[in-house]
Symmetry: C2
Subunit: 368 residues, 2 copies
């Protein structure tokens, strides 16, 4: 199901087979929260190079409800996306709720932010919902260890996540793959322990959870460096909710195979755009009269047709077309970045490419 085709240092180029076709890794997965990657059609998604997208279990469970999606033929049919879909477990959102929630060994109880309904969410429930959605890759329900957390807190939380992972595995009856999630906070020994426990269940893939939760970039890299050598070699490794282009480059160099993040799409809607020269804030007055494309070396629809001045204008007027074009560009940028890294890994030239990429970002106004 997963094959590592080439390695270059710790970086890997691989292929993952799913029910909806094969994907090349490393891969970036755009977020399709409510059954749509915001501001793009499925056709445009394919054009920018999306191989697989992420659906949010928590959101879809509440609206329009997973049972409705199941009745209508599953999430692929509902949103007209015939390539692979990975769904998160919904745990992260449930834990992030500011309204009343209660976490117990059995599961988590909360009030729906949509209509106030009392909802009980458990590993078993998370599996049922993901089955209803028809995910190609489902995730076990894990407890999100808060940051910062003491060693005892992180250990207790990790152990509960491991028990929930086992319950998820036992409860999952879906047609896709089920990935385990490594927890343990910022403590490397707990992380290693977590990996060992998950390996006993022989998951077809392993995610790294509980990162990008407020820790510094240095902390993120330190933990990742500590974890990666211990992750199972023959299985895909998915770094959840990460990150910036810089994070992704670093992750790939450390052997991560899969990423997801709302950054490219959310930033696009706010006029923050990624280019080979770094981050461009299109709202900046200097773009007002600039007839050149956002990124002259970019082949996306936005850059091949429209000027910075036009994007600046659309952004200023709050025009939907601005969100559409800028989302297309940012996703194209992310996919192209990862695509180039895949090709470089294949040819054993990843260091040289990364050097070039970092050189380009040097002139960026803000960190990328």
């Amino acid at each position: 199901m997963f094959e590592v085709v080439a390695v270059d240092g710790q970086a890997r180029f691989g292929r993952l087979q799913t029910r909806h076709g094969s994907i090349e890794t490393p891969v970036f997965m755009p977020c399709g929260t409510y059954g749509t990657v915001k501001a793009v059609t499925p056709e445009a998604l394919k054009e920018v190079g999306t191989q697989i997208l992420l659906g949010n279990t928590f959101h879809l469970m509440l609206r329009p409800k997973d049972t409705l999606i199941a009745d209508l033929g599953g999430l692929h049919q509902f949103m007209q996306w015939d390539k692979p879909i990975l769904t998160d477990s919904g745990g992260f959102q449930a834990f992030s709720l500011k309204s009343i929630r209660k976490i117990e060994e059995d599961g988590i109880t909360f009030r729906s932010p949509i209509n106030g309904d009392r909802i009980f969410f458990s590993p078993e429930k998370a599996m049922t919902v993901q089955e209803n959605l028809g995910s190609d890759i489902a995730m076990v329900l894990d407890e999100c260890t808060p940051y910062p957390a003491s060693r005892d807190e992180a250990a207790f939380s990790m152990q509960r996540s491991m028990r929930w992972a086992r319950r998820s595995k036992n409860g999952y009856g879906g047609v896709g793959m089920l990935f385990g999630i490594v927890q343990g906070g910022m403590y490397l020994d707990l992380r290693k322990e977590s990996i060992g426990i998950l390996e006993d269940s022989e998951f077809p893939g392993y995610a790294i959870g509980g990162l990008s939760v407020g820790e510094s970039k240095e902390e993120l890299v330190r933990v990742l460096e500590g974890i990666m050598p211990h992750m199972p070699q023959g299985r895909p490794r998915y770094l959840m909710g990460v990150g910036t282009p810089m994070d992704i480059v670093k992750g790939i160099l450390l052997g991560v195979d899969m990423f997801d993040c709302v950054l490219p799409t959310r930033n696009a809607r706010n006029g923050y755009l990624y280019t080979r020269e770094g981050l461009v804030k299109i709202r900046n007055a200097k773009h007002r009269q600039d007839n050149s494309p956002l990124d002259a070396d970019c082949s996306c629809y936005c850059c091949s047709k429209f000027s910075r001045a036009y994007l600046h204008h659309l952004d200023k007027c709050g025009e939907i077309l601005g969100s559409m074009l800028m989302t297309i560009h940012n996703l194209y940028y992310y996919h192209d970045l990862v695509h180039q890294l895949r090709r470089a890994i294949e040819k054993g030239r990843v260091s040289a490419l990364v050097k070039t990429i970092l050189e380009g970002w040097k002139s960026s106004d803000e960190s990328i």
Copy 2:
């Protein structure tokens, strides 16, 4: 430049040649207020059958400014639309301003709603702005007669509009055509007088202004019926700011060649959708689980791919993709309606087609 190819009753099928190609009439023109038809790319616009679109002089003059657009190569280049563009004169918006404005023979003075700048707008200025935009079809500046208006008020206002039409004609140095605008409120004798005065200037096309301003549907039809037989035969006739599908059918039957309206695009963003069975309010709970397309007989991208349930869900979540898909559908519907009427006029079968269309709308929840 304009050729009437076929007539059926008073309805006409024609061809209008512009600098950016030929268009078939009757034609519906979507509104591209700020240099974008909201929520659609230029490519999608072509796919739904848009032959020509309308740019708003007033809006573009304020943002990003017509001089900037001129510097960047004109509106076609700016928004990447290589088919014809008609621009309104900006008068309607200037007159609609609620903030302080002063109307005099020389022109209208107002404060910019964007930044408070004091702006003087005159027939000559309206021409300069439209020249800067590079319109294929420009409009004279007219005074919008308020509704209701006494005969004296309407007469005074019409006479001023006629003087402004002459000044517009003298001032216009653009590369496109300049259309005159018939005014006169709801008074047929004033309307006829206005037509006569405009004809002396030999405009290449004539618009009917000051309708759809608050009068009843019956009033609109009465005035239109009264005006149309007196409009120059060999020139395109443009009914400004009209209207619903029903208005357009009626207008075409009375010999109107061109229409523009924000209804299909604005309604799309609010989930009001046009179909062969009439108006569909997608927010209605009955669509929640409906796996059928919005309109089974429609060939647009939205109807060929997505279900009512999906559109209902997108609308409920306020997703941009909802606006995108529903705009595509509504524009396709308008263009297809007018396209079918063109073909019917060509074949002398317009009455039969209109009967079928009205039959379909009978079951509509709301008037269409």
